[in-house]
Symmetry: C2
Subunit: 335 residues, 2 copies
Amino acid sequence: MRKGDVIVLEHLPAAVAYAAGGGRRELDGPLGSAFDIAERDTRFGQKTWEMAESELARRTLETAFGKVPHDIGTPDVVFAGDLQCQCTASGYAMRSEDVPFAGLYGACSTMAESAALAACLVDGGFAACAAAMASSHFCAAERQFRTPLGYGAKRTPTAQWTVTGAGAVVLASGRGPRVRAVQFGRVRDLGVFDASNMGAAMAPAAAETLVRYFDATGETPDAFDAVYTGDLGAVGSNLLGSLLELEGVRLQNHRDCGLEIYGRTAPGSGASGAGCSAAVLCGHILPMLARGEMRRVLFLATGALMSQTTSLQGESIPGVAHLVEFCSEEAMACS
Amino acid sequence: MRKGDVIVLEHLPAAVAYAAGGGRRELDGPLGSAFDIAERDTRFGQKTWEMAESELARRTLETAFGKVPHDIGTPDVVFAGDLQCQCTASGYAMRSEDVPFAGLYGACSTMAESAALAACLVDGGFAACAAAMASSHFCAAERQFRTPLGYGAKRTPTAQWTVTGAGAVVLASGRGPRVRAVQFGRVRDLGVFDASNMGAAMAPAAAETLVRYFDATGETPDAFDAVYTGDLGAVGSNLLGSLLELEGVRLQNHRDCGLEIYGRTAPGSGASGAGCSAAVLCGHILPMLARGEMRRVLFLATGALMSQTTSLQGESIPGVAHLVEFCSEEAMACS
């Protein structure tokens, strides 16, 4: 059923398995214990940063697959994406998986986009079981979007640190936290030109998606234990608060994956990257929902849709934010 | 209903509107009259090749939107992708459309991927109306994947010419050619390393998807007026024939969008690009189905999932092929 932009699901697919992978900096952060893949070699045994990310994605996906209850079987489709040009981290990871694959590009919004599509396909009976994944790697992303690390470029205070991480979730009919609703975001561009301030570029899209969600559903922010944004960081989170206030929405229980993953050790404005919200979702949020420590959560991953080329060409940065509403099994039973 | 990897749709969403856009070379080809956007300025009024593609995509999408019958209304979601790094042609095109947007990366397989997802969302009632789009631009693609045009690099005989083109289709309940089934492909990599021979890199994925389709459905190739592949070109089409022969499948009615779009004027091995199969689908195949000149068609778009970075790093090229089965309204009535 649709309510405005919100797709309310009928069968509430369950997150029957999930896994998170991270690199050294992520393991040393406050969510360190959340990671299934705890590898201190940032190259993950590979020759290049790009293949390192691909290997991390592959291992994370296989770890999630390994947790799927036996009666559910192999996923019918995997939705995945990453930040590399031509999404090669995901494409190359899928070489070793004999499973249908649909590649996505949503920048740092990918985890919500992939989970939303997987949820729709399972809910509609198009797949008995579908997986969603997103990944990023600091060293690969720096040279994709800014400069190779070897250049030693200075970082500005608004810059965010791309997470070396991945998250994968498998949705099916079964036990686990449920997906109640999903919402695809609209592209918003308020004229931010600074590729080192992506929080500012993405905040308008996040505000737009949230306002539309609350308007369409009649829900209020206090119905949720937490409203997680993907990776707005400190700058973007402040802007989101201001933008929502203009719309009369007060978000008391806002958390940002980009501020949670490194905690006080965060460089600059916090963390970012498609793997940031993916790892926090699969390593932290879903386990809390499974343990009943939270009952209802909005998960809103935000993406900045520029490239190095468009930045060099002087274009502004469009943003998008997709939303997935999760609830615990207990909360589903009461609703 | 699933049959193997094939998702058989229940309500058979209709292609209620579609449009194709092309550049000068495309207009001069044998399908020249198929294009709704007939612009001879390859820059489409923009300063850069990247923004030229974005403008072409935007105009093509808006032309398709303009053809949607009034009782159907605005699409609830647009699925779109392109070949540019970080899919900026689509992302920037969507800045001016106030419609939810889910970005895809499937390389040249994007049109089948986007149409498949749009079809599932409409069939499942998650969207009353959904659009699918893909685009490419020769000049933008050359510098993304090989070298900037100004370098004057020589082309090999196996190289394909990236189409400057776009196609957009709007699916909904209504009148028009129907989507009967969709199938997401599996990634296949048989160790082709030559980025100037993408037909060879993609043929194994195309063969795999087709064999799985025929096995799962019990259909035979002669049940179709045509089996269209996206852009295998001459080299890839020959390889597809050989690979299918090994599996006991004879494809008498195979056509390749990469050979149709330029006809005898094709440079090298034929055409390629996400916009190739998109423009041929929306400007040629769907109109033929609508006029009853064909009754059943398999549309199989093929993608090579490498990047310039992975090519320079010495990686082989993974391929993927997604499938969409279309039929005319008359064929649907008889089935």
